[in-house]
């Protein structure tokens, strides 16, 4: 599994970033991605070439292609981002933006920009930050810490199932994680466009990553600008890892957690109360 090296790498990034302690004014026209420094002036050229059609010349998400696109391209003037390592309500780090630009946003029109050089991506990240004065006045939030993953065994999965029930994830995502909970059909994003909760049976990738650490980060920090709330103040690391392990059993691909679950389930299905409104759990 490539998950562990990725996590270690992310931790290193975080360290580097906090060590540099950039000045706010500088930070707005620059970005720092590991040892690469992005420059907004250079980024403007790349932006005009690759991003403007969707995100618009003013960065407001109203590019000429935006009218045909759902979900809509991000409005950088609002400076509200889905994929953050930082608490809800705070700005993402340069790394967060860099990862989003590199990864793209699965199931949407936002492509992966991996083909551009690291330097070009760092530049364009610096340029995106010039669209909102929030970068000059606030700076990014402090990334949440993600402690080492706990063992993914059946006990952890079952505890995670209880967390899923207790935190009422099913209200939006549905008892089986199919994105069809009782509140699902009424949801809108913060710009009043209809939005659907993530359907866990559709794959193993998320808008904001694909590793177990990414899943942990997603529900802890929330997806700002959407109904998906932050749970960071409500869960201890152990609970959060348990929940990650349970969420993996809802996915169709052979995740190790799904394998454990499928081996255990046939002999024990009757011990489980259904998830959802009827006080489910064990």
């Amino acid at each position: 599994m490539s998950r562990i090296p990725l996590l270690a790498c992310a931790a290193e990034f975080g360290l580097l970033l906090s060590a540099t302690g950039l000045l706010a004014a500088q930070a707005q026209t620059m970005s720092r991605i590991g040892n690469v420094t992005g420059n907004a002036d250079a980024g403007k050229r790349e932006y005009r070439r690759y991003c403007v059609g969707c995100h618009g010349p003013a960065g407001d998400g109203l590019g000429e292609n935006a009218q045909w696109i759902d979900p809509k391209p991000r409005d950088f003037t609002a400076a509200v981002f889905k994929c953050r390592s930082t608490p809800t309500g705070s700005l993402p780090t340069d790394e967060d933006l860099f990862h989003s630009v590199s990864r793209g946003v699965v199931t949407t029109n936002m492509p992966s920009w991996e083909p551009l050089t690291r330097q070009a991506r760092a530049n364009v990240v610096a340029y995106i930050k010039t669209f909102s004065s929030r970068w000059a006045t606030q700076g990014p939030g402090t990334p949440i810490t993600i402690p080492a993953e706990t063992p993914a065994n059946i006990e952890s999965i079952l505890r995670g199932r209880d967390v899923f029930q207790k935190m009422e994830c099913w209200k939006c995502h549905g008892p089986a994680g199919h994105g069809d909970g009782p509140a699902a059909s009424t949801l809108t994003d913060s710009k009043d466009n209809p939005i659907r909760p993530y359907n866990f049976s559709t794959g193993s990738r998320f808008k904001c990553g694909e590793t177990n650490a990414d899943v942990y980060r997603i529900f802890m920090t929330g997806l700002d600008g959407t109904p998906m709330p932050s749970f960071a103040d409500l869960m201890q690391p152990n609970d959060a890892w348990d929940l990650v392990h349970f969420l993996r059993t809802l996915q169709p691909l052979q995740t190790p957690e799904a394998a454990i679950w499928q081996t255990w389930l046939p002999a024990h299905a009757k011990e489980l109360k259904p998830l959802g409104p009827d006080q489910g759990g064990r």
């Binding site: 608490p87 809800t88 929030r134 935190m167 509140a183 709330p229 932050s230």
Partner: protein
């Protein structure tokens, strides 16, 4: 807080001079009061269907009505925030926290006024999770889940803004935070009446905000004593 100020004149004088509003010792101060009404036909408030959340529905023997326009006898309007929008001396924010409750899947109060920097505490009194999602645009937008029995969520806002508050789980839950730069504000009651007291003599702009009717402002001159009247008339557009 304002009512306490008017009851005791010495205290009032103290408060005003402490704010540095006047250099000379203050003997008296005035106020503004008025009534808020509307013309036209207001939108009808509709019953809310809470059947998807039985633990809340069971708390309401009769259906809860939407609270967008709360009209009283004689076309008065409740829940209008009236405040000094210009001419006020900036004072320190009140240290006393303001409280916002979720009870029976409703926000209490429907419109919560607070000052910039004033501590805000949000409570969940229900047996269901809510997510508190204030859709701020000038201040940062955040979104937090609050399951039953968890501690209050604490927050402050740094800039003045009227913020729509939403719970995504219960789409009928709709409220407002009115974050103000001034400590002089009032919210109209069911009789449409408001009063702002403890104002040093001078010229002020006062603004009235309503979630559906929008905002209106007018200039008033407050003398060393007595209360000036400022009424506001909103227009209910046909819906």
């Amino acid at each position: 807080m304002r009512t306490r100020l008017i009851t005791s004149l010495p205290l009032l004088a103290l408060a005003v001079s402490a704010m540095g509003a006047l250099s000379a010792p203050v003997k008296t101060a005035g106020g503004v009061s008025g009534t808020i009404t509307f013309t036209g036909t207001p939108p009808r408030m509709r019953p809310i269907d809470m059947s998807k959340e039985p633990s809340c529905a069971s708390q309401h023997p009769t259906p809860v009505m939407t609270e967008t326009v709360m009209a009283g006898a004689g076309n008065t309007v409740q829940n209008v925030v009236v405040y000094i929008s210009a001419g006020d001396q900036a004072g320190a924010a009140a240290a006393q926290p303001v409280r916002y409750d979720q009870k029976g899947c409703q926000y209490v109060p429907h419109v919560l006024v607070m000052q910039v920097g004033q501590p805000l505490e949000i409570y969940n009194n229900d047996q269901t999770s809510h997510n508190i999602h204030p859709l701020a645009t000038i201040n940062p937008e955040w979104n937090k889940s609050q399951p039953p029995g968890t501690p209050p969520i604490k927050a402050t806002y740094a800039k003045p803004e009227f913020i729509t508050v939403k719970c995504n789980v219960h789409p009928w839950m709709h409220g407002y935070f009115a974050v103000l730069a001034t400590s002089h504000y009032a919210i109209s009651g069911n009789d449409g009446k408001f009063s702002l007291a403890g104002l040093a003599p001078g010229k002020y702009t006062i603004t009235a905000w309503h979630e559906k009717f929008g905002t209106q402002s007018q200039e008033v001159t407050v003398s060393a004593s007595g209360t000036v009247t400022a009424n506001f008339v909103f227009k209910a557009l046909p819906y």
